[in-house]
Symmetry: C2
């Protein structure tokens, strides 16, 4: 029953994930008001012109540009005022040559007009004529029908996590039922005889379950539904039953804890019995004792018990895996900061560090958070994290590092 | 009734906001499972030791370090196995000199022991003794009581938006009722005779309301409750009544649209009648025609009707203002990217541009999104934005720019 698998580098793990799991996108339609933060499941193209009419961008007078050529402050063009366009209404008339029409910002431009002169450059002579003191160029101060959107124009690409400005664009084109990826459901199981729920006072030899609430919050931030199966004691039968239930109910299962040898072996046997083990051990610090398996196309992850290790494995591998399953874009932007303390590193394993960030003028400073591995307080209040390559012996103070933001 | 106020620079506007509005933090307690993304209202310090006992970080044997000094593979120290510590239980014995105790990862270390030897460096002779092949240093492979947290240690600072790792830290110290800032309620009103709700087909001269859904989504992303008062036609009485209702029901009111001169004046008079106008016009592009007023300590903002302008004014001034009212930390990190096209700029006004971001290897490239001002499609699908200083004539292609991320 022992499975011999080599410890893989983070790059190898991501490659393995891409090979072993296939996108399985289920689509649902949600109202626009519920689409924020959801993953777009289809490309969105417009079916209409926006705006559907030529529109003024200023308060002023719609004209034929040629009727204003050569005019100036000294010699204004004097044009009869043919009428006024009201907001939200069709003009109701076509502009006659050598005349003008009052148009508000956003108002429709009458047929025949090809430009708008701002009200600031005009004078109302109160005799039915308007003096135009500045010549207009054709197309000036107006948006043409379909300038913003025309039928067939692609507005948004599938895979995108919808932001507030995307919601605005969808509103503009009247896309009020939005095709999004159905939310995944992920099961979270904490194991360990030493764990008590966080609302309880730990007895001798006990500690509170940190990973359960933390993983639940990480998954919620990511937009995933969570079923928290609570704490399961180190009993292979009970653990196996809970994992089997979770596999039936969820799209992925995270099993955290069980750092002791016996439990690690039990977790291996359980994951093996549900499907197959893909990976046992990642060359990363913290987070080495990680198990990745699958039941069909459903990931089963055995996370380390240490909260910091569980955090990084989830951030670096589990969320990208969930992203692959849903065809989600996962842009990973980093900010550049200056390391304020030297950091030593182990050889042979990529090393991850949490840090606080602070601006000093326009310079962003990174203060690494120190502490023994496994201390939850190395996560509390952190603003981001950075990595040190596995073949690097450490980073001297003053190094410019790339920090991934992860904190409030 | 005309109010003469100078157009202010963005820096002057932020200064004015700090002077005119005072933090008004209301605190409520929420369960830990609901605290993600909320603003912490009080500093959090621990009241207990975490862990509350000396704890092993490895599977192995607890020893007195001095009993292992000088041992090696060739000449192991042979120590009687006094007992085994079980996970989640007190050891129940103190370690006698020159003996050892089996301890699992995370297990409690018996009194008398000062270090743990990893199981990999031991051999069980199956006669009640253990061979130790590597000498231990005092404190090795263990976490001491309170190493992570001790009573009075500050874990998190107020003003922080709680992240998943903060939730983990709060779980660790048993803070299951979290003091957070009460959510603000912000009213959103769209004005304009040309507007129809986004689920309707616009008639001649009409367009869909974009700002209502977009502002609602921006405020929701920020963690604010929104009351959307819908579209109010350009009627000073009706608009005044709606603003008055919103001021009673909300902590802040955003009035968007009303770009035409008459409506702008009406918005001014209404805001003036509710309290006072602080600002009329910001030297920024897009977004110049912005009105900021207050009713008591409640902000009343007249946003431009153009969605892109409304977006930037909300992002740059309204959210920071809401942050000041709630004592919220607002870290503003930017990523460095290389501008892929030249951008010209107006003199005299800070200019904001949306862009798409794309990695080319490790280089982040920024593609500015072009389009006439006011086109919603210049917002759709954007990944971030950057600014051009008011005294800058533009940025050549290849400029390294600082981009604020705003997109999915």
């Amino acid at each position: 029953m022992t499975v011999m698998l080599h410890v893989k580098t983070p790059e190898e793990v991501l490659e393995l994930i891409k090979q072993e799991f296939v996108p399985a996108v289920e689509i649902e339609k949600v109202p626009l008001s519920s689409a924020l933060g959801r993953v777009l499941a289809e490309d969105i193209a417009a079916r209409e012109f926006v705006p559907d009419f030529d529109r003024s961008t200023v308060d002023g007078f719609a004209v034929r540009a040629r009727d204003t050529f050569g005019c100036s402050d000294a010699i204004p063009a004097i044009l009869p005022l043919q009428g006024e366009v009201l907001m939200g209404q069709a003009p109701g008339f076509a502009l006659a040559p050598e005349s003008c029409a009052a148009v508000p910002t956003g108002g429709a431009i009458p047929e025949g007009a090809d430009s708008v002169v701002m009200v600031e450059f005009t004078e109302d002579y109160a005799d039915g004529t308007i003096g135009i003191a500045k010549s207009a160029a054709p197309g000036q101060n107006m948006i043409f029908r379909g300038d913003d959107v025309y039928p067939g124009k692609k507005i948004l690409q599938k895979g995108r996590v919808l932001s507030a400005q995307d919601i605005g664009a969808l509103a503009a084109i009247g896309c009020v039922q939005v095709p999004v990826v159905k939310r995944q459901t992920v099961g979270v199981i904490s194991t360990g005889d030493e764990l008590v729920p966080c609302q309880e006072i730990p007895g001798p030899g006990q500690v509170r379950d940190v990973n359960g609430p933390m993983l639940e919050a990480m998954l919620q931030s990511f937009g995933v539904q969570v079923i928290n199966y609570g704490i399961v004691v180190d009993d292979e039968k009970k653990l196996g039953d809970t994992v089997a239930l979770a596999v039936r109910q969820c799209d992925a299962v995270l099993l955290s804890g069980g750092s002791s040898v016996g439990v690690k072996d039990a977790a291996c046997r359980i994951i093996q019995s549900m499907g197959q083990i893909l990976l046992h051990g990642i060359a990363i610090k913290p987070g080495k004792p990680t198990i990745l398996g699958k039941a069909g196309n459903k990931p089963l992850v055995g996370l380390p018990g240490h909260p910091v290790a569980a955090y990084f494995i989830t951030q670096l591998f589990v969320l990208p895996l969930l992203g692959i399953l849903t065809g989600r874009n996962m842009p990973a932007y980093t900010v550049t900061a200056t390391l304020q303390e030297s950091i030593s590193a182990n050889h042979g394993r990529a090393q991850y560090h949490c840090c606080r960030l602070e601006y000093q003028g326009s310079q962003l400073l990174a203060y690494p958070i120190r502490g023994k591995s496994g201390l939850i307080t190395t996560l509390a209040g952190t603003d981001g994290y950075f990595s040190i390559d596995r073949d690097c012996e450490g980073l001297p103070q003053g190094t410019r590092i790339q920090v991934t933001i992860c904190g409030g």
